[in-house]
């Protein structure tokens, strides 16, 4: 597993375990006692996928592909359905996905590596940043956090606590300050202090608020004044319990600031986060991390194979 040792892998398994048993049980129930993949199996499979927030459209795509393969490759044994589903689901996530994220290896050609964190309200951006900063610092990186959520009451205070826990520096201004100015000043400081990684927290915003989306664009623009290729990553944080609206979120945030990756939080609940299949497939955006708890080491790199394995283990 190599760099994965830096993480507490068992927690990932733990978090995903609920996802696995829930879906797996249902699929198994669906195929129990059947000798071939009939309409009923497909129908029950559909239900399982829908129940996992995969969404009608993506479910239909998956089921169509499975139907096709059953036809062409003459799968007759329903036990093979899990394998098939596994395969096709992984293909959805593979589409445009990168390899697993390794926090200890950031591109050599630029310093700092600027990461901007965006998302709607309440998905867990600030917490995720704390965890992310902790991961980078753990692998020996010099990390700086920019507190550009100048809107929400006590956002600075909350982030500051996380920065302390992670043992990294944070740059902030008063509530109500221009977030772009915070980002700009932070990047200046990061450049001056040779920081390896700079993580920018932004205020939660609904993707439908035009002005707030413009504000994000502005943050990106001012960063580019100092560093033309910044931000190097723009990560959209999604709450695993969010339903199909996550697709709209991905769409609008991508249109505004060009999302390069997803972070799926709160996967330690009973929600399955299946909507990332649709997003990854539709927009070619890889899932980079999953959040599986409230502790500082509860952010894990997204391993699509493990994720799909966990969903549809044979």
């Amino acid at each position: 597993m190599g760099f994965l040792d830096a993480f507490n892998v068992s927690r990932l398994k733990e978090g995903l375990n609920k996802t696995r048993t829930n879906l797996l049980e249902k699929v198994q129930k669906a195929i129990h006692g059947k000798t071939r993949i009939d309409d009923e199996v497909i129908e029950q499979l559909e239900e399982v996928l829908i129940a996992g927030d995969v969404g009608v459209q993506t479910t239909n795509i998956l089921i169509e592909r499975i139907r096709d393969r059953v036809k062409k490759e003459r799968y007759e044994n329903p036990d093979e359905l899990n394998g098939l589903l596994h395969d096709e689901t992984q293909k959805l996530l593979l589409n445009g996905s990168l390899e697993m994220v390794d926090p200890s290896s950031i591109p050599q050609n630029h310093r700092p590596h600027v990461i901007m964190i965006v998302g709607v309200n309440g998905v867990g951006k600030t917490t995720t940043i704390g965890k992310l900063a902790y991961n980078y610092r753990n692998s020996g990186k010099n990390v700086l956090i920019a507190a550009a959520d100048t809107f929400r009451a006590a956002a600075n205070e909350q982030l500051e606590i996380w920065a302390k826990r992670a043992g990294v520096k944070m740059i902030q201004q008063s509530q109500g300050a221009d977030p772009a100015a915070v980002a700009y000043d932070s990047l200046k400081s990061a450049l001056a202090n040779n920081a390896d990684v700079m993580i920018i927290d932004t205020a939660g915003r609904l993707h439908t608020k035009v002005n707030l989306m413009e504000e994000l664009k502005k943050i990106k623009r001012v960063l580019q004044k100092l560093m033309p290729d910044a931000p190097h990553e723009v990560l959209l944080v999604l709450d695993a319990s969010t339903g199909q609206n996550a697709i709209q979120q991905a769409k609008q945030f991508t249109a505004a600031v060009g999302i390069t990756g997803l972070i799926l939080t709160k996967l330690d609940g009973t929600a399955k986060g299946g909507v990332v299949l649709a997003i990854s497939h539709e927009f070619d955006i890889p899932v980079k991390y999953v959040g599986v708890g409230e502790k500082i080491d509860d952010l894990q790199p997204f391993d699509r194979k493990a994720f799909v394995d966990a969903l549809f283990e044979r």
Partner: protein, 441 residues
């Protein structure tokens, strides 16, 4: 994605057109589309299944009114069913005869509890109450600071204690409220996962200790299929009295509202519609139904057209049209009927398929207001007999309506065009009236 849904429904409706009764055969296809609409809106799949079955049972055998298509009737049945399912508009809260009334707020992380608490305090304060906020979220970093700042913004005191357990803070706050002559206590609790036994035990303990008069469960309106699980789990532990839907100012269709109503028989009391502290509204089941259906615009149009356009008036008008007696008086009536239905832009948006028309469907409502003003500046006689409106009358009308002679001319011209057009299709039915109405300022 959603737009092609309404297109699909439209094509389904097309096939149904001209069939007098809803039968099992013609309802099936519509319901398949409706099922998809509901699933896309994140209504729980089990709830959808049950719901569709119910609607099917209700629909079959229903007579289709002449004015609407069977498809539209099914949508109307679905809409009515949805509204019923989601209960009444109900923001009533239990009020303790001995103050203070204690309200406890619970929910998952990030659902918007803290913001809601502040909004509720603001709402109650505006109603003449004296609320106090209690920061019982000792887990999330800076949650206490956040509530303090929000309390400060709305000038509502906040009880905090950074050294004690949540249960004790909550319990003690009630004494403090009594001493401070506060009549409502709003307790903000930490966000917790319904499967986190330790945390669920904590909130159960708070409940036992303070015995709240009202417990509100806060849920993010963007929640997907899992909404039923969390709503049920919190109900089992807390038996809450009402639900609050947050973040409805986005574009989520909010199917979670229906899912929750279906599995827990508790009213949805408030909805959060923005980040500002006054962005709290009482729940309206009809608006929610429209939203979940997505293409509920059709419902609204059907409903509104049915309600506003009373048959008799329409008949009288048709009679007039046939005899070509349509006057500015009738025109004014028409304008007002349309205004009752909402803005023209909204109205156009409600017409299925309008988005695919090549014409630019941008309509300016102010144009209508000006037209109305112009007609109102006419004398009775002028309205009956527009041909008598000469130059000096035009000047007077322009002056009286605050418009220009050019605008008055334009309206007169459009009116006479309209009269001509109406003669042409005077055999046709009322709704076609709208086709002749093209206005620009």
């Amino acid at each position: 994605m959603f737009e092609d849904l309404s297109q699909k429904l439209e094509s389904v409706f097309k096939k149904l057109r001209g069939q007098g009764k809803i039968t099992e055969a013609n309802v099936a296809e519509s319901l398949r589309e409706v099922r998809r609409v509901l699933l896309d809106a994140d209504v729980n799949y089990k709830v959808v299944k049950q719901f569709i079955d119910d609607v099917q049972k209700r629909s079959i055998g229903q007579e289709v009114l002449q004015s609407i298509t069977p498809g539209q009737l099914i949508i109307k049945i679905i809409y009515d069913e949805l509204v019923t399912l989601m209960g009444k508009t109900n923001a009533e809260m239990t009020d303790s005869p001995i103050p203070p009334t204690v309200i406890m707020v619970a929910g998952l992380q990030g659902s918007g509890k803290t913001t809601f608490c502040a909004k509720l305090a603001h709402y109650l304060k505006n109603k003449g109450r004296y609320p106090v906020l209690v920061a019982a979220d000792i887990h999330r970093p800076a949650a206490i600071d956040q509530l303090e700042m929000l309390g400060n913004q709305i000038q509502v005191p906040v009880v905090t204690d950074r050294t004690r357990r949540a249960t004790d803070i909550a319990a003690e706050s009630i004494d403090q409220a009594r001493k401070g002559a506060r009549d409502v206590v709003i307790i903000d609790t930490a966000g917790r996962l319904h499967i986190d036994e330790e945390m669920m035990q904590e909130i159960e303990n708070i409940k036992t200790k303070v015995n709240p008069h009202e417990i509100l469960f806060v849920v993010d309106s963007m929640t997907g299929q899992d909404a039923v699980n969390t709503a049920k789990a919190f109900l089992e532990r807390l038996d809450y009295d009402g639900v609050v839907l947050t973040k409805l100012d986005g574009d989520t269709r909010g199917g979670a509202a229906l899912s929750i109503r279906a599995v827990v028989n508790k009213p949805i009391k408030f909805v959060g519609v923005g980040e500002k502290l006054d962005a709290l509204e009482v729940f309206h089941p009809d608006r929610m139904a429209t939203r979940i259906l997505g293409m509920g615009d059709i419902v609204t149009l059907v409903e509104k057209a049915q309600a506003q356009f009373d048959e008799q008036k329409a008949l009288r008008l048709e009679e007039k049209l046939r005899k070509a007696q349509f006057t500015f008086e009738d025109f004014l009536d028409q304008l007002r009927e349309i205004k009752k239905m909402g803005s023209l832009q909204q109205l156009l948006g409600m017409i299925p398929g309008i988005k695919r028309l090549p014409i630019n469907a941008q309509v300016d409502d102010t144009a209508l207001i000006r037209v109305e003003a112009i007609i109102q500046s006419m004398t009775k006689e002028e309205r009956q007999k527009p041909h008598i409106i000469n130059g000096s009358r035009r000047r007077r009308i322009a002056y009286g309506s605050g418009t220009s002679i050019q605008e008055v001319n334009k309206v007169l011209k459009q009116f006479s065009d309209m009269q001509k057009m109406m003669k042409k299709f005077s055999k046709g039915k009322m709704p076609r009236m709208f086709e002749g109405m093209h206005f620009s300022a």
